[in-house]
């Protein structure tokens, strides 16, 4: 038994009324846990910083070709809140610009992995038990077994190490996880009565996959996507730590840590703040992802 509460028949007729109501309800489910709201705040902050980096960073020019040997290795102070690095660049500004690359990588990786993984997973799941399933899933298994960093290293050895190439490497190892997830969801959803009803009425396979099965995977998908932004950032940082990815002088979180590691523990701020920034991103998107999962969870009776 579910109560509709504020949803009266008159507000139902108005499409804006319905949208507003469902938004309010989703927000209620999301905000029940204060940690999710914290995650949302962090995510919004990161996105804002990334988008408006040139206007927000105190020393935007430090993110490019800039050298100031007089001001190098300065500890945190009021002029440089996170200190300066080995060639005098402001670490805070570089971190803000590094967020841009992190988010860009996450967006590109997900933009390719999610559609590819979801399509293959839906198809394999719906046809589970047949050759289609076997072929798709074994190919997926091959890709899953490739460690992303080794793959990235190989690609860098063949092609130049750039941000684009590291994005390719991460994407290639990322999409199979979406296939797996969608596969297990689709193969159980296809046995539900509403899918059978559609099949028996004669709906086309495309219709069933996209209009009956996919909507029921959406909550898992969106949750995973939110969490993945954090994890892609982490993998991207690992790659740039070993020298793949965005090349200097463009800032990347992993590269900054690599530069600072040599200077530990004397100039601790050079490595620590970028590391904290990575933690900030992963934590924020994790908490946000938890909130998304709660917000999209089905209504309870």
């Amino acid at each position: 038994m579910t109560t509709e509460g504020m949803l009266t028949s008159s507000s139902l007729k108005n499409p804006w009324g319905r949208t507003l109501y469902s938004l309010k309800r989703t927000w209620y489910k999301f905000s029940r846990n204060w940690l999710s709201v914290l995650g949302l705040v962090i995510v919004v902050t990161i996105v804002f910083l990334a988008v408006f980096a040139p206007y927000v960073a105190p020393y935007p020019q430090h993110a490019g070709k800039f050298v100031d040997f007089k001001g190098k290795n300065q500890p945190p102070s009021w002029q440089h809140l996170m200190g300066t690095d080995t060639i005098g660049r402001d670490i805070l500004s570089r971190i803000i610009f590094a967020f841009r690359n992190a988010l860009l990588m996450a967006i590109v990786v997900l933009a390719v992995s999610v559609p590819l993984g979801t399509l293959t997973g839906l198809t394999a799941g719906y046809y589970s038990g047949t050759w289609t399933d076997t072929v798709i899933m074994r190919v997926t298994d091959v890709f899953i077994s490739i460690p992303p960093i080794i793959l990235a290293l190989s690609i860098a050895a063949v092609l130049k190490p750039t941000l684009m190439n590291s994005m390719i490497a991460v994407t290639v190892s990322w999409w199979p996880w979406y296939t797996r997830m969608t596969y297990s969801l689709a193969s159980s959803i296809k046995n539900e009565y509403y899918v059978q009803a559609a099949e028996l009425t004669g709906a086309s396979k495309i219709y069933i996959l996209f209009h009956e099965i996919l909507p029921n995977c959406s909550s898992s998908l969106f949750t995973k996507m939110a969490l993945d932004v954090g994890w892609v950032t982490l993998v991207g940082a690992a790659l740039s730590f070993v020298g793949l990815g965005e090349q200097p002088p463009k800032p990347a979180l992993g590269t900054m840590i690599a530069e600072g590691v040599e200077r530990m523990p004397a100039q601790w701020w050079i490595a620590l703040f970028p590391a904290l920034a990575i933690m900030f991103v992963v934590l924020g998107f994790n908490l946000f992802g938890d909130g998304i999962r709660d917000a999209l969870s089905p209504e309870e009776a």
Binding site: K13, Y193, Y194, G202, E212, P215, P298
Partner: protein
């Protein structure tokens, strides 16, 4: 497609219908397959316009029979003829006009409607699939029309199934089945998951819809009191075979098969006038054997209070004991 019925006005005829589900128990070294004999040779026919009831407990094969009619499964052997056309194949292999003409209402209203879509989308689906939208008539109007037929208010089309009660969901499922203007509807325990006070509403509506649209129903349930008030003819199934077929009156007033009597004597009743109609108490003993391991001879011999020697050796055949009243037992 012209309506082709035989001289008896039968819309659906099943002959020696069999459905075995193979289970692979093979090990590495030896191959072993066993068959779950869900339906093991049944014969029945449904006349146009009647409500044919199929009764049985779990493992009897009634749901499997229903699903074969709609096309979820293909029969292992035997024939199934609908309006003169052979439908002994799964729905994917059936022509569209059959999918339009035979519809099903499932048992569980909770999972027969997609929780992530609203009622409008759910009811639009069959209309779109069968291209039933004429120019000029908006699809929204057709959906409101369908809701009206099952007496649900028109603003329900914006709701999601989760916000509806069980009875209302089942009404939507019925509206969805009616959308393609079928002539035959399979109702698989449509009210088992619902409360008693809602059940009456739904059944009454179903009966009215049947009269209004000239539908034929194949009604499946395990609730005999319900069946008494709905069906015109009833068949009772046990372990994949039909034990008795009779008109509703005959079935309840003069049950011939021991299993029918056992079932009737077990149902809880409320009023003294009903108690007089129950046969003398045959305490049910034992459980239904597994359909994998059907006993030889008559499959009811493990529980029958009237069994004799022949019951362990020979499987009885269906005989017409009285006019239009068939039963399958050696000892009648």
């Amino acid at each position: 497609m012209p309506d082709v019925m035989d001289i008896n006005n039968n819309i659906l005829v099943a002959e020696n219908l069999v459905k075995h589900f193979p289970i692979n128990l093979s090990g590495i070294f030896k191959k072993k397959w066993i068959a779950v004999k869900a339906v093991d040779g049944i014969n029945f026919s449904v006349k146009q316009g009647e409500c044919f009831g199929l009764v049985g407990e779990s493992g009897s094969g009634k749901s499997t029979t229903a699903y074969m009619t709609v096309g979820t499964y293909a029969p292992t052997s035997g024939s199934l003829v609908f309006k003169g056309e052979d439908i002994a194949r799964p729905a994917v292999k059936r022509p569209m006009h059959l999918k339009k003409d035979i519809q099903i209402v499932f048992q569980d209203p909770g999972s027969s409607l997609n929780p992530m879509r609203n009622i409008q989308n759910i009811l639009e689906m069959p209309l779109r699939v069968h291209n039933m939208i004429k120019k000029g008539n908006s699809i929204e109007k057709k959906v409101i029309d369908l809701l009206d037929r099952v007496e649900l208010p028109s603003h329900y089309r914006f709701k999601s199934p989760i916000t509806l009660g069980g009875g209302e969901r089942q009404m939507v499922a019925i509206a969805r089945a009616l959308a393609t203007k079928p002539s035959f509807m399979v109702l698989d325990e449509p009210t088992s998951a619902l409360d008693v006070s809602v059940q009456g509403k739904i059944i009454n509506r179903l009966i009215r819809l049947q009269k209004e649209f000239g539908l034929t129903y194949l009604f499946i349930t395990h609730d005999l009191s319900l069946m008494r008030n709905v069906a015109t003819r009833i068949a009772i199934m046990y372990l994949g075979k039909i034990a008795e077929i009779a008109s509703a009156n005959e079935f309840f007033q003069k049950p011939l098969h021991p299993y029918t009597q056992m079932l009737l004597s077990s149902i809880p009743i409320l009023f003294d006038e009903e108690a007089k109609l129950k046969p003398n108490k045959i305490h049910s003993v034992g459980e239904i054997p597994s359909p994998v391991d059907v006993p030889p001879g008559c499959s009811f011999n493990t529980r029958c209070p009237f069994k004799t020697d022949i019951c362990f050796v020979e499987d009885p055949v269906m005989r017409e004991i009285e006019p239009e009243h068939y039963a399958r037992c050696h000892n009648i």
